[in-house]
């Protein structure tokens, strides 16, 4: 495991047969059998994660990786009778690490895009949008943010597609471009907004909502959620694991654990009713 070194450490649930997960998930023998041989043999899922995206995945004060993404992945592992082994990574390096065979799974709030689907398969488990936030009392319109400073996390959908597209609209209309500040982690981007270093930040809706809930007196939502798109667990292209994860997730949705987790973290707005694969290209 990477408990000793990665600053994250294993969520370490799921676990041995018969043991109950924190949400009471137990191993489903039939599903477990469908696991690819090497994973079943290793008894664990190697997961790449960028734990700077509260509340989806982040670190608690002891440096342990937590979040609802983590709980969900742990539950899936428990269903399959294996443990989880989280490795902290930079967000931009997770997908290359999956295609490079380093991680079985990427659990890091990946927005399923057709661009990314060229690299990996996604098991869609949530429906999130993009939500901007601005300083309290300062109204920012995401669709008319020309010339403003916007914080994003480097390598995210917001960084590579959403904000650049908005900025391009500005420049096409002869207005000033949006100044994008790319931070290494979402935590820094959020800090930048809280402290007033930027006019706004753009992040996935659960993240923005969580940040607002924590810093009610400093920041507020700017506009509403848009660009709703599915989240997906990233799996290597064409891997057998894709369907296994999808089925396990479906089982969790069916037995209500899924909802329990989302409700516990207060993000059940974007819950899906059925697990899907590569939803982006299907639209």
């Amino acid at each position: 495991g990477c408990v000793d070194n990665s600053g994250g450490g294993s969520g370490g649930s799921g676990g041995d047969t018969g043991q109950k997960n924190a949400y009471g998930v137990t191993k489903d023998a039939a599903l477990a059998k469908t696991l690819p041989g090497d994973i079943a043999k290793a008894g664990k899922l190697t997961i790449g994660i960028d734990a700077t995206y509260a509340p989806n995945e982040y670190k608690d004060s002891d440096g342990k990786v937590i979040g609802w993404d983590v709980d969900l992945a742990d539950a899936i592992a428990a269903k399959l009778g294996v443990t989880t082994d989280y490795t902290i990574s930079k967000f931009d390096n997770i997908i290359p690490s999956i295609t490079g065979g380093r991680y079985d799974l990427g659990v890091s709030s990946f927005t399923d895009t057709t661009e990314r689907e060229k690299q990996v398969d996604f098991v869609n488990y949530y429906s999130a949008g993009v939500l901007w936030a601005s300083a309290k009392g300062k109204n920012v319109d995401p669709d008319n943010a020309c010339g403003l400073k916007v914080a994003v996390e480097a390598g995210t959908y917001e960084d590579t597609e959403e904000v650049p597209a908005k900025s391009k609209k500005c420049t096409d209309a002869g207005k000033a471009a949006i100044q994008v500040l790319k931070f290494d982690g979402q935590d820094q981007a959020t800090n930048a907004l809280v402290l007033g270093q930027v006019d706004a930040m753009s992040a996935d809706s659960p993240i923005t909502e969580y940040a607002i809930s924590k810093q009610k007196d400093k920041i507020q939502a700017a506009g509403t959620t848009f660009d709703v798109a599915p989240y997906g667990f990233a799996v290597d292209k064409g891997s057998k694991l894709t369907d296994v994860i999808k089925n396990a997730l479906q089982a969790l949705i069916d037995d209500g654990t899924y909802t329990k987790i989302l409700q516990k973290w207060g993000v059940d707005d974007g819950a899906v009713t059925a697990a899907d694969v590569n939803a982006a290209s299907k639209q």
């Binding site: 931009d92 390096n93 997908i95 290359p96 295609t99 490079g100 661009e115 990314r116 690299q119 400073k149 480097a154 390598g155 960084d159 590579t160 500040l181 790319k182 931070f183 290494d184 820094q188 402290l195 007033g196 270093q197």
Partner: protein
């Protein structure tokens, strides 16, 4: 009767084999993605970013040198307060990591977002909000150059101290002011000692510009390479592309540095008696086109 070095040849052959194996293996590894390396090496976005890296380097060095000179002179001042201020500056800027400093400069606008006019802790008459938000490039240059100044100060100081005290005295005795003495006599002579390590600092600065990611400024070579790889999911080839550019620049600088050092370590045999007795003292480059 020729020399034979069987042992030497064995070692050489093994080493060459290892290197060849490594290269062949690397050529085969898909992760290196050599076609992509070729594709991005001369990508316009990369070469523009390389230009920005050079700009960062040049601006930061120039400001760093000027500030370093001021700090060095302050350090040599007879005024203990001036000396102490300079000392504290060096202590803080040499004692903390430049990466942390750059993060700090990135946040500086948060700290100093207003000018408070008043008596601290007693009364505030007015608070003037500072609206100007400096561009990230500007902040990066400030961060890099303030750090560099601390290092340049020590280099300049060593250079100034290397000039024989008799020189300053002679200039003083001729009625030259302190400023004239510095400008015309001491600084030109100290260049011999200052320039070689300054060359090293330039090379080091070029590499340190990668850290502006902490500001976060991301239009430099490394930042741009990272941006591209975030879109294309091929981090390794872009890392290689950035490395090759850095290697290219530093190699040029190292060659320049080599010639500079050669030039500045050259002296003319016969010096003043005072110097002849003390080969440790600076040997002055004389002859046509000395250090002027």
């Amino acid at each position: 009767m020729r020399l034979r070095h069987p042992g030497r040849i064995t070692v050489a052959v093994i080493l060459i084999l290892l290197v060849v194996l490594f290269v062949l293996d690397a050529a085969q590894r898909t992760a290196f993605d050599w076609p992509d390396v070729g594709k991005y090496l001369f990508d316009q976005r990369i070469s523009q970013a390389a230009l920005i890296t050079l700009q960062l380097t040049v601006y930061s060095m120039v400001i760093g040198i000027v500030l370093g000179l001021i700090l060095a002179i302050m350090r040599l001042s007879p005024n203990p307060v001036v000396k102490a201020v300079s000392w504290v500056y060096l202590w803080i800027f040499r004692g903390t990591p430049v990466y942390v400093q750059l993060v700090f400069w990135g946040l500086i606008t948060l700290i100093y977002n207003s000018i408070i006019i008043g008596i601290p802790f007693v009364h505030t008459w007015d608070v003037i909000k500072i609206d100007w938000v400096p561009p990230l490039f500007f902040i990066s240059v400030v961060g890099l150059s303030l750090n560099e100044a601390a290092y340049m100060a020590e280099i300049v100081r060593a250079g100034l101290l290397s000039v024989d005290a008799g020189q300053e005295e002679a200039a003083k005795a001729l009625g030259m002011s302190w400023g004239q003495t510095m400008r015309r006599i001491v600084i030109p002579q100290s260049m011999r000692v200052i320039i070689p390590p300054t060359g090293n600092e330039v090379i080091s600065m070029l590499k340190t510009t990668t850290l502006v990611a902490a500001v976060p400024f991301s239009l430099d070579l490394f930042g741009r390479a990272r941006d591209i790889s975030a879109e294309t999911f091929v981090p390794i080839p872009l890392l290689i592309v950035a490395s090759l550019w850095y290697l290219f620049f530093t190699s040029i600088l190292m060659v320049g540095q080599y010639f500079l050092e050669k030039r500045f370590s050259r002296g003319i045999g016969r010096g003043r008696p005072a110097i002849e007795n003390d080969p440790d003292a600076p040997v002055i480059v004389g002859g046509v086109g000395g250090v002027r």
